[in-house]
Amino acid sequence: MNTEPESQFEADPEAGAESGFEQALLPAQIHQAAGMVAVHLDTTIQDAYHRLESYARSSGRDLDDIASDVVGRRLRIESP
């Protein structure tokens, strides 16, 4: 069985309203972390969300924790 969790940030035009809704309700810290990652990696905001999410997934930690560490400058996500 595929246990890969579904991304909250998939850009699926058919599900635009729903995914936008999910993303809009994320804690502020995740948006802030995405802003920081966008600058660090010189990438788009949307891509920054993906990077945060895949980092959280590969390290087995919560997205909230990762965002908190990025904002607190305990973690800097580098280019793969």
Partner: protein, 295 residues
């Protein structure tokens, strides 16, 4: 068929086979009651509410100003758990001294705000606006309430953590900036080596300094630009550029600036923005791709 059933039927017509979202519910509501636009803000956690749907930039502004000033019809609808009907926005300046001066100049003449609740649990609030003054008819009011009930159910079902909603304090309106402000704060923090609180303060300060209605304005235009790396100098530049006499023609109206490409720069702001970027960076910068022009 009662009002709720009829409203639900309208929603399904608007959804046209897609999953029903609060956006779809309010698109149907606006059409049914003859409103020019709508915006929906949902409670996202203790003390936080977030814009989740807006029909246009005026609707966005209506919500942005309320989220940052903490006052306005939606806020009152939310706290009072009752509709707030404002047939003449200009006459309500005493009631909301921070809100009315920001929305009256862009042509918002009547506002109708509705709480979204399920059994007294607040989910959010929505507003419908008109460019002409006047009240809702009793039938329109009843329809609008039915749509608000439907939207509340849709929102509750889709909420990632609905349990948090039940525990919210009833008397205090949640406030908060839209996600884009937090994104911009993160960008600013990374670029200027500030902590997040300082970054948000700076965004706020620039907004107020340049008479922008809410920090959402510079932030939105800033983060919407793809691969845009800013400098210290461009932050005041952004806010200066955005403060144009008539910010409302959409940038997307310009040839080459495709609607939906993410650029939310007001049309007039593009010119000021382009000039200021050139002035500050000294060189032609590619800038946001969707500006529809080459600097």
């Amino acid at each position: 068929m009662d009002r709720h059933e009829r409203a639900w039927q309208r929603v399904q017509e608007h959804a046209a086979g897609r999953q029903v979202s609060v956006d779809v519910v309010y698109a149907a509501a606006a059409q049914t009651v003859g409103a020019d636009g709508y915006a929906v803000a949902l409670v996202s956690g203790p003390g936080m509410r977030t814009l989740v749907a807006a029909s246009d930039r005026i609707a966005e502004l209506i919500e942005d100003v309320q989220l940052s000033s903490g006052e306005g019809p939606c806020t009152d609808a939310y706290t009072g758990l009752a509709p707030v009907i404002v047939p003449d926005v200009q006459a309500a300046a005493d009631r909301w001294p921070g809100f009315v001066p920001a929305v009256a100049p862009v042509g918002v003449r009547a506002l109708f705000a509705f709480p979204m609740q399920l059994g007294g649990v607040r989910v959010g609030a929505a507003d419908l606006y008109r460019r002409r003054p006047g009240p809702l008819t009793p039938a329109q009011l009843a329809d609008a309430r039915a749509f608000a009930d439907i939207a509340a159910q849709v929102a509750f079902r889709q909420h990632p953590d609905p349990k948090t909603l039940a525990a919210l304090a009833a008397d205090r309106p949640p406030h908060g900036y839209p996600p884009v402000v937090h994104q911009a704060a993160g960008m600013l923090a990374a670029q200027l080596d500030l902590n997040i609180a300082e970054a948000i303060s700076r965004l706020r300060a620039y907004s107020y300094l340049h008479d922008n209605p809410s920090p959402g304005w510079p932030a939105r235009s800033w983060t919407a630009s793809p691969r845009w790396t800013s400098t210290t100098a461009t932050i005041p530049a952004m806010t200066r550029a955005i403060h144009e006499p008539d910010p409302f023609p959409r940038c997307g109206a310009r040839a080459g600036c495709v609607t939906g490409s993410g650029c939310l720069f007001p049309l007039g702001a593009c010119d000021g923005y382009a000039a200021v970027v050139q002035e500050n960076l000294g060189t032609a910068d590619s800038g946001p791709e969707c500006m529809g022009r080459t600097l």
